[in-house]
C-alpha cells in the first residue's frame, strides 16, 4: 500500500466531511420556519424573537455564521441542546452505543443467514432451493422496514408474546429490531454471494482443483468461497453506512434509544443543534467506514493498486 494512496484517500474524505458541514449548517436555514420563532413557541413576542435571533447570531451574514459554526465544530462545540440543556454532542454521543449494538446485531443476522443461503443457491443452481432463496431475497429487499417491524411486533410481541415489543436492555430486546434492520441486507447478500460464487465456480482453477480429485467440500470452502467473498465483504463494508441510515427508522419503530431515535425526537422538538450534530456524526461515521473499507481493500486486492 502506498503512502500516496493513503494521503489522497484521506484528503478526499476530509473534503467530503467539509461539504457535509456546509449541508449541515444550511439545514438550519433551508428547513421551513424561523429557528428563533420555533424555539420560543407560539406565545413569543416579536421582541423576544428578535433578541433570540441576535443571541443565536442569525442576524449576521451567512458566510460569517458558517465560519463560526465550522470553527466551533472543529473544536467539538456544536452548541447546547435546546431541549436537554446539555452539550448537543453529549446528547448524540451517549446514544451511539445503542445504534452500534443494533447495527452489529442486524449485520450479524444478515451475514449468518444470508451468506449460507447464497452459497447453497449457487451450489444448487436452478434447484427449488435456488428459486426459493431468490424469492426470499426479492421479498427481503422489497419489504419496507417500517411495515416489517410492525408486522413482527404484531406476531411475536402481541400475538405470541414471545418477545418484547420495544425498548432495550435484555438480549431478547435486540431480536426483532435486528431482524427487521438486517432483512434488507439479507437480500443483497444472498444475491451477491450467489452470483460471485457462480462466477468463481466457473473459473479454471476450480476445475483444476476438482481434477486433482479434491473433495467437493474442500473445493467449495478452501478454493471457491475464499475468492467469492471478496466482493461480498466489500459490499458489506459499504452497506454498513446504509444500515446506520436504516437504523433511524428501526429505532423509531422499536423505541430503541439510539442516535436515530434521538435525531427523530430532536427533529420533532426542533432541537437544531442536536439535529446538526447527529447528521454530522453520522456522516463522519459513514465516511470513516468507507475510508477503512477502501484502505483495507487496497491492501487485500493488489489489482486495484
Amino acid at each position: 500500500m502506498t503512502l500516496d494512496y493513503l494521503i489522497r484517500r484521506s484528503l478526499q474524505s476530509l473534503l467530503l466531511i467539509l461539504l457535509v458541514t456546509v449541508v449541515v449548517f444550511l439545514l438550519l436555514h433551508i428547513t421551513p420556519g424561523d429557528p428563533a420563532t420555533i424555539i420560543l413557541g407560539e406565545q413569543a413576542t416579536p421582541e423576544q424573537i428578535a433578541d433570540l435571533r441576535r443571541s443565536m447570531g442569525l442576524d449576521r451574514p451567512l458566510l460569517e455564521q458558517y465560519l463560526r459554526f465550522l470553527s466551533n465544530a472543529v473544536q467539538g462545540n456544536f452548541g447546547q441542546s435546546i431541549r436537554a440543556q446539555r452539550a448537543a454532542l453529549e446528547v448524540v454521543i451517549e446514544r451511539l452505543p445503542a445504534t452500534l449494538q443494533l447495527t452489529a446485531g442486524a449485520f450479524a443476522f444478515a451475514v449468518l443467514v444470508g451468506m449460507p443461503i447464497g452459497i447453497l443457491s449457487a451450489v444448487k443452481r436452478f434447484s427449488l432451493w435456488d428459486h426459493g432463496s431468490m424469492l426470499i431475497a426479492l421479498l427481503a429487499q422489497s419489504m419496507p422496514v417500517f411495515w416489517l417491524g410492525l408486522m413482527l411486533i404484531v406476531v411475536f410481541a402481541v400475538q405470541l408474546r414471545w418477545l418484547p415489543a420495544s425498548g432495550m436492555g435484555q438480549p431478547q430486546h435486540l431480536i426483532i429490531p435486528a431482524v427487521t434492520l438486517g432483512t434488507f441486507l439479507i437480500g443483497l447478500i444472498i444475491r451477491l454471494t450467489r452470483s460471485s460464487m457462480l462466477e468463481v465456480l466457473s473459473q479454471e482453477y476450480v476445475r483444476t482443483a476438482r481434477a486433482k480429485g479434491l473433495r467437493e467440500r474442500t473445493v467449495l470452502v478452501r478454493h471457491a468461497l475464499k475468492n467469492a467473498l471478496i466482493p461480498v465483504v466489500t459490499l458489506l463494508g459499504l452497506q454498513l453506512g446504509l444500515l446506520l441510515g436504516g437504523a433511524v427508522i428501526t429505532e423509531t419503530v422499536f423505541a430503541w434509544p439510539g442516535m436515530g431515535m434521538a435525531t427523530v425526537t430532536a427533529i420533532h422538538q426542533r432541537d437544531y443543534p442536536v439535529v446538526q450534530t447527529a447528521v454530522l456524526v453520522s456522516a463522519v461515521l459513514v465516511v470513516g467506514i468507507n475510508w477503512s473499507v477502501d484502505v483495507v481493500y487496497h491492501y487485500l486486492d493488489p489489482r486495484i493498486r
Partner: protein
Amino acid sequence: MADGQGRKRKERTQAGMNRRGFLRVAGAAAGAAAGALPASRAMAAAAPAVIRPTPELVVAFSVDPGHLDPRVEAGVPGFSMMYPHMYETIVWRRKDITPDASLSLAERWEQLNPTTLRLRLRRGVKFHNGEEFEGEAVKLTNSLFTAPESKFPTKSSMMVTREVRVVDKYTVEYLTSAPSRPLLRILQFQTMMSPRALKDLGPKIATNPVGTGPYKFVEYVPGQHVLMELNPQYWGPKPKSTRLTIRFIPENGTRTAALESGEVMMVTNVPPDSIKRLQANPQLEMRTSVTNRIMFVTLRTDRAPFNDKRVRQAMNYAIDKEAITKGLLGGLAPIAQGPMPPAVFGAHTGLRAYPYDPGKAKQLLAAAGASGATFNLGVPNGRYLLDKQIGEAIAGYLTDAGLTVNFENPTWSSFVTEISKFDKAKYDGYLFGWGVVNGEPDILMREHFHSKFTRRNAYKHPDVDRLVDEAAESFDEAKVKAAYFKAQEIVWDECPWIFLHLQPDLNAVNKRLQGFEARPYEWLILTEAYLT
C-alpha cells in the same frame, strides 16, 4: 449496588423471560418454522414464557421530554412526569382544578391585601435529599422562575410577583406590583426545588430531580425511561405502587402493541383510528377526558370582510361541528359551548354552540356583501389531534357557504413562523388550540380578546377590555364570575373565533390498572394508580 441488582432482576421479570425460557421459545420457534411441530403445539410449548407484567407500574408516554427541569418548557409529557410525582408546586389542585390547601405544600393561604398573598407552609416536609422545605426555598425558587435568563414558558404570568418575602421559617408572602387575583392559580406552576440540590448539582439537576414529591427519582435513561420509587418520607398519602416506570415509545403502533402485549399498563396519545381495535380487546379499555384545550379558528378582525361581525357569525353557522367531532374524533370531543372550556374558573355555562345552519350562513354573507370573498386559512399539520383533516373539513364547509378558501397546511415550524408575523401573516384565520392547564382564564381572555394583547386577531372591544381587567383585579368571586360571564357573552356574539371543540385526552389502559383517571388539564397523575 444491591438496589441495581434488584432492578435488573425485576426488569428481567418484567420482560418475562429468563435465559431458559428464551431458549425454550427459540427452540419452539425453530421447531415450528421447520415444520417439526404443528403451530399449536409450538405455541403450547412456549406458553410458560408468556410475558407477564409485574406489580410495579410501567406506563408508556409518546415523548421523551429530554430533561426533567421544572424551570424549562417540558410539554405535557415532561410536566406529567415531574408533577406531582417527583416535584410539587406550592399550590396544588383538586381533580376539578380548584386550588386546595389540603393537597398543597402551602397548608393555608390568605390574601392580606390586594397586592399581598400570604402562604403558611406545611411543616415537616423534606426534599428527597433530606433538606427541610422552608421559606427560603420558596424565595429562591421564585427568583429562578422570574430571572431574566429563565426559560419557563409561562414566565410572563409569574412576572406579576414583585418579591417573595420570607416572614418566618414557615411563612412567606408574595408581593405583586398590582392587584392579582390570578396569582394563586398561577402558583400551581411554581415548583419547589431544593436550594441545596441546586447548589450541589448545578446544571445536572435538569436530569437529577430533587423534589418533595411522593416518588423519588431513581434514573433517567434518555430515549428509554424514567424510573422512580416510593418516597417513604412523603408528607401526604403514599402512592399505591412502589415503583413507577415511564417508558418513551414514540411510534403509535409500537406503543399500543406494548399495551396489548402486557408490557405496559397504560399508553398515552392513542391514535383515534386504533380506539375501536383496543376497545375490542377484553383486557383493555380507554380512559379519556375532555381537556381544557379549546380548538378554534382565530380570525383577523382587522381585515375586510372579516371585520364585519356578520361574516364571522356566518362562518360559525357554516360549519357542522357535530359532524366533525363525531366523524373524525369518534364523538370524544365535545363541541365548545363558550369561549372558555367548562372546567375553567369563570366559564359561562349558559351559552350554546352556533348550530349548523348553512342557509343562515349564506344569508349573512350575502347581507355583508361577502359572498365569494377569499379566505386564507392556515392549519398546522401534526400539531393537534387530526388537525389536517379538521382543517380540510372546515375549508369544505366554508366553500359550501360561498367563500373562496385558500387552504394551507404547512408543518408546524412553517406555520408558527407565519403566525408569529401577526398582522403581517398571510392567513386571514388559522386553526389553533389553547390549553388552560391551571384553570385560570386570565391569560386566555387577555391573549385573545383584550385589545392590548390581541396580536393574533386584532380583536377590540372596550367593554371586554374593562371586564377582563376587572376580573383580574377583583378578589370578590361573584364579581369576577359576573365580569367573565359578561365578557364571554360579548365575545360569543362578536365571534373573533370560529368556535370548534374541546380536544380529548386519549389514554388506553389494561383493566388491571385501577386508581387512574384522565384529568381535564392533560397531565397524567399516577400517584393513586395501582395494579390489581
